[in-house]
Symmetry: C2
Subunit: 266 residues, 2 copies
């Protein structure tokens, strides 16, 4: 549980669609209700960057006039995970972590297996790895001018809950919001990640000079019909909340693998 603090909470805000996206503008403005808001977000779209990190190229961090009641904002040349690392090291300091990190609101779903490809969610996971209570928000609408009003109601509810209660150790939250008005939203459900996956195909095209190249296009398949999944909750008009961990160990298979007797053990 979070301990009561005698100062106004400090809230870090990032995303993967870039610092000018409507989703982060709406989210950062909403967070000013709860504390002092610091935006550190990519200076260009970084969707699909997963947990990529920039250590073999340089990074830049520019002051940015965000407005909307935000205390301080920086645009970063790197990935969402780079933004979190720079926020911790250069904006807050490792001994002075923010009370909450929110990422998004992403323009598009990060439910099910999308959590692993998502820059939005990787920023939240990196926040959790740094010990910051962290939440990623995604709206099931990819349009640049999507309506974030239901997302912001959900973000308020969860930010309030996490600031009051803290976060279970080693986890962050993956929150997806259906494309509905606040009135039509059915509520919030705690879920597990549906075990869906992408079937990818590639459009092969030719450059004007005749060289082949590819565009990736995927189709999402979800054979997981469980009623406790994020995909199911979203289909019923609920916002889904999946607790996400960064311990990737498949603990339940360690016994099986020990049975393989790979040898050389004492």
């Amino acid at each position: 549980m979070a301990e009561p603090k005698n100062r106004r909470p400090r809230i870090a805000v990032t995303n993967d669609d870039g610092i000018t996206a409507k989703g982060i503008q709406s989210l950062a403005e909403a967070m000013t209700e709860f504390g002092d808001v610091y935006v550190i977000a990519p200076d260009s779209p970084q969707s699909g960057m997963g947990h990529a990190v920039t250590f073999s190229r340089i990074l830049r961090l520019h002051p940015f006039e965000f407005g909307r009641g935000v205390k301080e904002a920086h645009a970063c040349s790197g990935t969402p995970v780079d933004c979190v690392k720079l926020a911790v090291a250069e904006v807050f300091g490792e001994d002075n972590l923010p009370d909450l990190l929110v990422s998004g609101v992403n323009h598009g779903s990060n439910a099910s297996i999308n959590v692993i490809y998502s820059g939005t969610m990787s920023a939240a996971v990196e926040g959790a790895m740094c010990g910051i209570p962290s939440i990623g928000f995604s709206l099931l609408d990819e349009r640049w001018d999507a309506d974030f009003s239901a997302s912001i109601e959900v973000a308020r509810t969860l930010a309030r809950a996490v600031l009051e209660r803290g976060m279970p150790s080693g986890t962050c939250l993956n929150v997806n919001i259906p494309k509905l008005s606040p009135e039509a939203l059915q509520g919030i459900k705690i879920c597990r990640q549906a075990m869906g996956h992408w079937r990818d195909t590639f459009d092969q095209r030719q450059t004007p000079g005749g060289s082949p190249y590819y565009w990736m296009r995927g189709e999402f398949h979800n054979p997981d019909k469980g009623e406790d999944t994020d995909i199911h909750a979203l289909s019923k008009g609920y916002a889904s909340v999946v607790p996400v961990q960064f311990d990737l160990t498949a603990h339940h298979t360690i016994g099986t693998l020990n049975g393989w007797n790979l040898g050389h053990e004492d």
Copy 2:
């Protein structure tokens, strides 16, 4: 368990250091002992790309003369995960998956939390998501001319085991090898991921024109003193094998979160 096949196994090989790295050359050559080898690897270094995927830029795939007994090789302009997606869709076909995917041998450790930043391991995770038994190998030596002989012995042992037994559903293996000669290697241990993390600092420098920029530099910290971790096994001279899953749900915290009563539930 894998079913016996009446044909020679087909083995996909990728990495994140790029198709010309010594680690993938050694690994691909070693795999020819077990089957027909197909290399699909990045045309340039892709370390630290995590699970990044390229859908807003084009991808290229060039035939590559790999030699070393490899049946077919392609250099790809994208990330390690792109390589796996292209291999499945364009090289093998979704209904004709390879019997094994191996990634690496990475020049440098992917033990503990590094699994989440690693292009090498993200390729193996993507392989598992596609239903291919997949293993990532990493040597604790970043040098370009590192000695991969112990790594190759470990890779042979694990490739043989996985081709015979298959892989527990929804998992792949993260294998790290200490910087030791084959004679000095103590054996192979099944482990969990040590709960270590990077403390990042940034060197701030100036361009010749006077603009600030940053270089990321991290220091790895491991407060996890468990004797069942990969870091512990490696410190004792063992190769570590961690089963890795792509269900990121923190199932053990769902009860706690339901207790938050976020409301609006039926």
